[in-house]
């Protein structure tokens, strides 16, 4: 097993650092270009959630991202240092007339993650939240 670990401050600019790393890791283990794009988007959403909802952008709180490569499997754990989340909702979220009228224009992140990865786990407690994403290398049709 090979492992890459990053720790970033709770500032959205550093999400781009994680995203760039994800692209390199995905390419290195042989993911297709489309699979790498899926990986980048899923990790971006998870890291932004950790920064905004977990750590609430508090200076001094870090987001840890661990990539573990095991054969055909890539597992990524994204951990924050917040006080846990009350609700985790990966249900389908699409743009509709009602949300446009009410100005509810956010909340697509967890739905996108759940659609783009092969496996998603959430573990939360008063010590923080950990999202575990798993993607497998697969043949493109």
């Amino acid at each position: 097993m090979e492992r890459v670990e990053l720790n970033i401050p709770s500032n959205p600019i550093f999400e781009r650092v994680v995203r760039a790393s994800a692209a390199e890791v995905g390419s290195a283990i042989g993911f297709s270009e489309e699979r790498v794009e899926d990986l980048k988007l899923a990790i971006s959403e998870a890291v932004n959630n950790a920064i905004d909802h977990g750590n609430r952008r508090e200076a001094g709180k870090l987001v840890a991202v661990v990539f573990e490569i095991d054969g055909e499997k890539l597992e990524i754990r994204i951990s924050d240092q917040g006080s846990g989340i009350e609700r985790f909702d990966p249900s389908r979220r699409v743009v509709d007339e009602q949300s446009l009228e009410s100005g509810h224009l956010r909340g697509f992140g967890m739905y996108l993650i759940s659609e783009l990865v092969d496996h998603l786990e959430v573990s939360t407690s008063h010590r923080g939240t950990v999202l575990t994403l798993r993607l497998y290398r697969r043949e493109e049709p």
Binding site: L41, L112, E115
Partner: protein
Amino acid sequence: MSDIILREEFGDVAILHIASTSVDAISAAAIAAECQEMRPVTVLDFSEVSFINSAGISALLKFVVTARKSGFKLFAINVSPHHQKIFKMVEMVRFMPIIEADDLAAYR
């Protein structure tokens, strides 16, 4: 006007060329601010865009909201296959159809 959007206008048409490669939490506010300057036909050009996340989608929805309130038409051009997939997943294409750049010739 910001450096993140380059405007091209002819008649009632505005083409907004997004100059940022990432439509994300960092660029979202500057991109969304341009929705104040829409024309009756507004086209967002994604040819330089290599990444869009949900913060970016929220910024793009500001254009959708403004277009609906004003009775304007909103289109997207030069959307990558990956971003077409994402737009379909969240049903963005219902409110911002993707057209071919050649389709704009009729307006010029």
